[in-house]
């Protein structure tokens, strides 16, 4: 069982996954849809994230995503992941600026 994410002051949670069709990183929005831009992710506290994670995992196949989990972000707008790994997932590989998620439609 995955350990709960430990949150530092000023941090909250977002849900993330990969899209089934193309594997792209996606983030769960407040309207229940998945989007490739972390700026559209719902920012959740621990209790909200627990409920949302359960629901999103149950609906993963219907929503066309795989590997749903929660990860810590700085509670700013747009949210910024805490770890290097999640920053790279959110923004794209650092070695190819032309592939930055922000530049995609």
């Amino acid at each position: 069982m995955k350990r709960p994410v430990r949150l530092e002051p000023g941090q909250k949670l977002v849900l993330t996954a990969n899209r089934l069709l193309d594997g792209r990183t996606v983030w769960w929005g407040a309207d229940g849809t998945w989007d490739s831009h972390i700026g559209r992710a719902a920012i959740l506290d621990a209790d909200e994230a627990e409920v949302a994670l359960l629901r999103a995992t149950e609906q993963a196949q219907r929503d066309g995503v795989v590997g749903v989990y929660d990860t810590a972000v700085q509670d700013v707008v747009p949210p910024e992941p805490v770890t290097v790994r999640e920053k790279i997932r959110a923004h794209g590989p650092t070695v190819h600026p032309e592939f930055a998620v922000e530049t995609e439609q």
């Binding site: 990969n18 089934l20 069709l21 193309d22 594997g23 792209r24 990183t25 196949q61 219907r62 795989v66 590997g67 805490v82 770890t83 290097v84 790994r85 790279i88 997932r89 794209g92 590989p93 650092t94 070695v95 190819h96 592939f99």
Partner: protein
């Protein structure tokens, strides 16, 4: 269609099998997409077909058996990069190629395109016998005793879909060479095989077992010194059976054969293999001269003809052009034919991404292979490309052609020839980014004159303890580690994969990413300041010991 130089020619059975396998996988993909298969059910099926799910997309790893391609195959890889990926591919430390931006729904179509040129992605993942690697100079090098490719192909056929070895305790890697100069890291493989001539013309095989890198680096131990050709398959079968029966399956980190060999000792392992051989029907596994000849017949032999003055032409061109001369010094190897030479093409431009090639570069390499090396290309486990049979008097024309697409870097075996895994920019297992630190080091030492002055010095970078960048075997090794979400790098020195294989020694505590390049520059300065005439980095390290280098690395001004 003519038989390709350098690799085995598929027949109808091979091609029918690939089509059946693709149809099977297409059905699995469709069932995954419609939800009939869960991700847990689908994952082992996609991995058996080389398809991973990484950080940003699916990654498809395509097998390049013993690292050898023909030009139509390479051209196809370039087309796949352009049509289905983001216009580039990444050559790996297992002589394969990876595409980093693949869509699941495109995968059956990609596999069909690969099958058009007799390629696939089978057994590039999973707990099975992976792509068998071989000497990148096979069949060409002057120092070679036995061309290992025919036996590499025999091992490929033996290990492909082997019913007993499809679900091993863990992945299994085999390398084979026929040169006294180990260019395949034989002692860092689950099984390493060194072929040499035996009596009556047939080769004999020295077999090492239980080597490996990863979180527990181990140098393989000699299991047998002289296995006769007729018993090669029986012996490998017995080694695998012992591992399959006794290798641990309860702990993924202790499941490789190296752990078993270390646990029971090589003597006990040898006894177990001999006991297995004693109860096997050896006749069933006997590799007959006729069977070997039948495989050999499906390899075309290059017609090596060169003008009598080819050597003199090359010598004059080197005198006339210092830049060309520098490239020849670092990027060529002596061919068995005096009119020919082996050219290694660096995929390590200063500040570039090790092992990456764009679709345009891939297409140009295919054209150059057709023009200069019988349409044959080799991918090295050091993430470079080799044209094995270049006429000496045409080498400069090749070099000029390479320069047009940015592939004329003169740094093979030098500090700029950095080996790096994809790291945290792509890999779901990684803890740190390998490529940016490789780019910074490549840029720091981009001057090829400086690289030549530094001499033989290999840097290997891994983004996690799984060691796909072979950092333990680097003269200088970097291991990326995660400390509270930040990237650090642990430095090792003194590793080597060639003859006299050694595991690098950790110098000290891991350094923050932004201090690592400077620390390595100080290591190099320490070597340059204290080396004696003719010494390489490893020579100086051996003479002085680690302490001066540790002090240099951790010196703070």
């Amino acid at each position: 269609m003519s038989i390709p130089v350098g690799h085995y020619q598929y027949d109808r059975i091979d091609r029918d099998f690939l089509q059946a396998r693709i149809a099977e996988f297409e059905g699995q993909v469709n069932r995954r997409l419609d939800g009939t298969l869960s991700e847990d059910e689908f994952k082992p099926l996609r991995l058996m077909n080389g398809l991973y799910l990484q950080l940003h997309a699916y990654m498809l790893r395509v097998a390049i058996p013993y690292g050898i391609l023909d030009s139509r195959q390479l051209r196809k890889l370039g087309e796949i990069a352009r049509r289905y990926d983001r216009d580039y591919g990444h050559f790996t430390t297992r002589q394969n190629i990876q595409f980093n931006w693949i869509r699941l729904e495109d995968t059956p179509a990609i596999l069909r395109e690969l099958a058009e040129v007799d390629m696939h992605a089978i057994q590039t993942s999973g707990n099975c016998i992976r792509n068998v690697t071989a000497d990148e100079y096979a069949g060409a090098a002057a120092d070679e005793l036995v061309d290992p490719r025919v036996h590499a192909e025999i091992l490929r056929q033996w290990s492909t879909l082997h019913p007993e070895f499809t679900f091993l305790p863990r992945k299994f890697k085999i390398a084979i060479s026929g040169s006294p100069n180990d260019r395949v890291a034989a002692r860092f493989h689950d099984i390493g095989i060194l072929a040499r001539p035996g009596e009556a013309g047939a080769p004999v095989f020295r077999i090492f077992v239980g080597g490996g890198l990863g979180r527990t680096p181990v140098i393989g131990e000699e299991l047998f010194d002289s296995v006769r050709e007729e018993h090669l398959l029986a012996t490998l079968e017995a080694i695998l059976r012992v591992y399959n029966a006794h290798g641990r399956r309860d702990n993924i980190y202790k499941a490789r054969i190296k752990i078993l060999v270390q646990a029971i000792g090589v003597e006990a392992y040898r006894e177990a293999v001999e006991a297995e051989l004693a109860q096997m029907d050896l006749e069933r596994y006997r590799l007959t001269p006729e069977a070997v000849a039948a495989i050999r017949a499906r390899f075309a032999v290059p017609l090596l003809e060169a003008p009598a003055d080819a050597d003199a032409v090359l010598a004059q061109q080197r005198r006339d052009d210092p830049l060309f001369d520098r490239w020849v010094r670092s990027n060529t190897h002596v061919h068995r034919d005096p009119g020919h030479i082996i050219a290694t093409i660096s995929l390590k431009p200063g500040g570039g991404i090790p092992g990456d090639a764009t679709s345009a570069q891939i297409a140009r390499l295919a054209d150059l292979a057709d023009a200069y090396s019988f349409g044959e290309i080799r991918i090295t486990h050091l993430q470079n490309v080799v044209l094995g049979h270049v006429r000496k008097d045409r080498l400069r024309d090749l070099w000029l052609g390479l320069a047009e697409v940015g592939l004329a870097e003169a740094n093979i075996g030098l500090i700029g020839d950095i080996v790096a895994c994809p790291g945290l920019d792509y890999c779901a297992l990684a803890n740190a980014r390998s490529i940016p630190i490789a780019q910074k080091l490549g840029a720091r030492f981009a001057d090829t004159a400086l690289q030549a002055e530094i001499g033989a010095l290999r840097i290997n970078i891994s983004g996690c303890i799984n060691a796909c960048g072979h950092h333990h075997a680097g003269h200088i090794g970097l291991l990326g580690v995660d400390k509270r979400g930040e990237e650090f790098f642990q430095l090792t020195v003194g590793g080597r994969a060639e003859n006299g294989a050694a595991i690098g020694t950790i110098l000290g505590a891991a350094l923050p990413e932004d201090e690592t390049v400077d620390a390595i520059a100080r290591l190099v300065d320490c070597y340059l300041g204290r080396r004696e005439s003719g010494e390489t980095f490893l020579d100086t390290l051996t003479r002085l010991g680690h302490e001066p280098f540790r002090e240099a690395a951790y010196e703070t001004v």
